[in-house]
Symmetry: C2
Subunit: 628 residues, 2 copies
């Protein structure tokens, strides 16, 4: 294996990749304080350890032990549960690189050793096949998740190589990838996996090893999709991303996580090959998705049935699926599109997803998880300590452990800051040599960001600061910025500071009027944070179903929410409508109906959506009807 | 077997049953003309024969042939497909009784003979068990539909006995019921079937045979439900109606068809036992369902996931499930509640369901079927010739073949007309002796109904005419009626006529404001018929997503719809909004948004909902947003 120079980041394009922006060395970005730092701390101290316990309790590690001949018994859990171990390992890799930990390193070493021991002589590795039925190998690619698991193994192997320099898991992954290339890659039936994931992984394996076979295999597997070989079963080919060839896809649908992992892979494939048809197709899909099929929280997936993306403007808040894994996959895709295009809209959606539809997947204490993330719940919903289908928890872990990779980029002439956090960032833009930045901010709660140039060379270079789409009237050093990035091209001196001021005061948000399910409703946002109303915060006796917001409501900060660790609450004067006369009417003649419950003014408290369901049971709404 | 005197109706309570109203002899109600007559004709001439072909093509009849040793090969289709044959046979029974048919009788004889031949010596009958795995018997009551199939066998056997006097299928059914009673009825594990249906069937078997064991078994199986023995699987116990004991159930949920078949059985059980807890429970459930969980079309089932009833006020029009079978089951339940209570609200909901959410399940030509019946479709939807899960088609057939059973009832002192059709009705109210009525009406398209007393005795008796809840200002013989039934107590003379005038002019309907998914929308109804807007009827270039209705819109008849067999269209002046500026905005700051597309006035055509998707593909909406 050729080991290339690496920069320790979860996405690491080759030198010849077609990119506008390049990721920074993940080891050179440190989030020092604030919400993301706190989430990383909890991930490290609670969630990753919970992962170890639950993978043990669920038998997921035992399955590999049985495959390795180190234990006996029956295999437990889902056919794809090996991937839970791999995603957790990937999370450990990034976390260990972020901050050494003997405890986490020991867990990682032990599990890598186990995975390695479970691998067969020919490179094959899948505990379902090895423990349950050796004849199963390659026999159920539609539902078996065999290459999907391989993809997560590859991502974990790449992560360890980049994060720690330890190549042992990468070696396992490469051997398996070689076997897949020889068998699936060369088979005459154009086999593909029902669950995309290996595509994005193989591009990274190519990047990490320099072996172009892996890039070719990613291209082959991608090109084979879309011919309906999965027709005739419970789900349509669209579910499996097998309805339209990738290069000509006009819209995006089917199983949300499958769609988004594939889209991330297609974008990476474009980055390495420069094939314009891939970029055009993925951008068409992104446009449709972002403008007609994405929730206010960034969540994706409108249907429980098939865990699927819906039709355009089909975005029910109560039955939203918004799988946490889909949020992770969306962040992966948006990051890749940002690197390729340099356009802020991808960083905007990444931010929206990160702070809302993604963070909601984890309890504040780091110990329990949502699989689905609806925007309305009539009766409340509780996070669970683990799930029988445990894809989401380790996906949360690997993203939190690497979230600092997504803050900033570099280009030929400068450094771009896309996401704001109190952090130290080192970059090496070619024109300027090493640049060190120190950022201080209370973001996302405060809109003030101070960027200090700690070190830099003498040449002129550009510091670019993203202006989020929501941030009206943003000032940089007192000057209004109209562009999507404030590009500050100067001959910087160490010690210089830039102050950016974004207005995070609470604001009312309206949906596109074609979105049927929330027509005539308003939501409340504050900076990048979507807020929500929980039943327990209502005035005594009020029912969340009866609360409305006047269009001229003036939401305002209500101070720190002690029960939620001090994050700011928002107060707004709403209306609790009385529906007298409606109790016995479901539908009625317009001429004969009681009024629409004008009701009484009531003070309402809104809390960050991602923090809902952390204070006991109760209903929740992001969208409230406009009162008449 | 004791054969009791029968009245040839699908529900036939015993003389001691706790009822306010009694069904008429089904053979003494003849629908002579109009929409229902036409639907019965098409069912006879097209749909029932399509059933024979498709049951052959799908292997459903072959499965029984293999079980009977008359054919060989592999069993095909779903585990519960025998029930498709039984429901189709039930339909044949009612249809033969309605009007003799050598062709249908031959089909019935052949299939009854086949079913009889397939029965095992001990009475067992289930082709899955017999063909696929004899050890399966009673081993998977949760998912196997074993007693569900038995229930439909029983209903078919009862139907033949009542409709034709042929006891051969009833004998088969009784032998199987005896075996079930001996095994399941006496087992110590409190076994129940995952899919209720046998309960309602067993009560009817008791009524037909006089064997109280069957009533006891129905009671036993009902009482065993609700203790969560089906916990721990893909679905919650609620899905199987196993979350709350029947007698204490506070709400209704889970799989809609299961819930409604069970509710019909519980109501029948109350009718025969008089146990008040059963009636109280079923009425609580009905209230919740009718007031918070039923679609405007009468359809039930808000979720694809689990084919389930949703939370109160969770009624998305686009993702409505509204399985056709749930409409059939709802009609069954409402009919039983009407008999028990005599209250018009049950006849109201029966009517709403019959003309809308039920009739939509069948194409106008009688040859294709909807499984789900949403109230909105963005891209159109096509009925299919048959379904892999073929429960709905034969359910449609059996209800259409017996729909005349649901028009009228009798009581001690008179005759009640609940549903209006051009028909001849003979009843024998005890106080008055034989009464013959001839009804002439263009209902549901016209609101004029003339009831002529063709024959009656000398005593005073009461003719009761239901005034539908939607029928404001109804006149009977020129006098306004405020009550739910116009009760005309007289000493009637043959030749006397009563004229009833209901206002069926088109009207706008609003939803309860707590129904989130259609808040701020309006629908259009005309008499009992819900109308809808199809994409193909819009002005050129208009998009159904952009159409709105002013609250002061004045819908009016537009004349016969030639392409839909002459049923009346409705025209209304709507608005096609232009959403200029919204194309690139999914969500936005309320202070910065483009207008909500005020747009241009446009003439709109509405057609009966049940007749949608009969003129090619295209979107459809029942609910349109109110224009600002």
């Amino acid at each position: 294996m050729t080991s290339m120079q690496t920069i320790g980041s979860s996405v690491e394009p080759t030198a010849s990749a077609h990119l506008r922006l390049r990721p920074l060395d993940g080891r050179n970005v440190v989030i020092r304080d604030g919400l993301l730092a706190e989430r990383q701390r909890v991930n490290r101290e609670v969630t990753l350890l919970r992962g170890a316990e639950e993978l043990e309790r669920a038998g997921t590690l035992d399955n590999l032990r049985i495959a390795a001949g180190r234990a006996s018994g029956e295999r437990r859990g889902m056919v794809f549960s090996d991937s839970d171990v791999y995603k957790w390992l990937e999370a450990l890799a990034w976390e260990i690189a972020r901050q050494p930990s003997p405890q986490l390193e020991a867990l990682a070493r032990e599990s890598i050793d186990l995975v390695s021991a479970a691998q067969e002589a020919d490179g094959y590795l899948n505990s379902w096949c090895q423990v349950v039925d050796p004849a199963w190998r390659w026999s159920d690619l539609k539902e078996g998740h065999e290459l999907y698991c391989a993809g997560h193994l590859i991502q974990a192997g790449v992560a360890f190589a980049r994060a720690t320099g330890d190549l042992s898991l990468l070696t396992v992954a490469s051997r398996f990838a070689d076997l897949i290339d020889e068998t699936i890659g060369n088979d005459t039936q154009s086999s593909i996996d029902g669950h995309p994931e290996i595509e994005v992984a193989l591009v990274e394996l190519y990047r990490q090893t320099g072996e172009s076979r892996y890039l070719s295999l990613a291209d082959t597997l991608t090109a084979r999709r879309g011919y309906g070989i999965f027709a005739g079963g419970r789900f349509e080919p669209l579910y499996y991303q097998d309805a339209e060839p990738v290069r000509s896809a006009r819209s995006i649908g089917g199983h949300a996580v499958r769609a988004l992992y594939l889209a991330a892979g297609v974008t990476d494939l474009y980055a390495e090959t420069g094939e314009e048809a891939l970029l055009a197709s993925t951008l068409r899909q992104w446009n449709e998705l972002a403008l007609t099929k994405t929730y206010l929280t960034g969540g994706i997936g409108s249907r429980h049935d098939g865990e699927a993306i819906g039709d355009p403007y089909e975005l029910p808040p109560d039955r939203a699926y918004c799988e946490t894994c889909a949020a992770v996959a969306s962040i992966m895709w948006n990051w890749r599109l940002l690197l390729v295009t340099g356009e802020s809209r991808f960083a905007d959606l990444l931010e929206r997803t990160l702070y809302n539809g993604f963070l909601s997947g984890l309890s504040l204490d780091g110990g329990s998880f949502f699989y689905t993330n609806p925007l309305q719940s009539r009766n409340g919903k509780q996070r669970r300590h683990w799930h029988p289908v445990a894809c989401c928890p380790p996906n949360i872990m690997r993203l939190l452990a690497s979230v600092h990779h997504y803050l900033a980029t570099t280009s030929d002439d400068g450094v771009q800051i896309h996401q704001y956090a109190t952090s130290t960032i080192t970059a090496v833009p070619p024109v300027a040599g090493p640049v060190e930045l120190s950022i201080e901010t209370g973001y996302p709660w405060s809109g003030s960001v101070t960027v200090e140039i700690v070190a830099c060379g003498d040449a002129e270079w550009t510091l670019s600061l993203r202006v989020p789409r929501w941030a009206r009237g943003t000032l940089v050093d007192g000057q209004p910025v109209e562009a999507e990035y404030a590009d500050l091209k100067r001959r910087w001196r160490p010690g210089e500071r830039v102050v950016m001021e974004m207005d995070v005061s609470p604001r009312l948000t309206a949906p596109n009027p074609r979105i049927d399910a929330v027509r005539g409703c308003l939501a409340l946002e504050r900076g990048p944070i979507v807020y929500c109303f929980e039943g327990g915060d209502l005035p005594a006796g009020a029912n969340l179903a009866d609360v409305a917001l006047p269009a001229d409501a003036a939401p305002a900060d209500s101070g720190p929410l002690v029960a939620l660790g001090g994050m700011p609450g928002v107060s707004v004067s709403g209306v609790v409508r009385d529906f007298d006369g409606w109790e016995q009417i479901e539908y009625g003649d317009l001429r004969e109906l009681p009024g629409n419950g004008r009701g009484a003014e009531a003070p309402l408290l809104a809390v960050p959506y991602f923090a809902w369901a952390n204070r006991g049971q109760g209903g929740m709404r992001v969208w409230l009807p406009k009162s008449d």
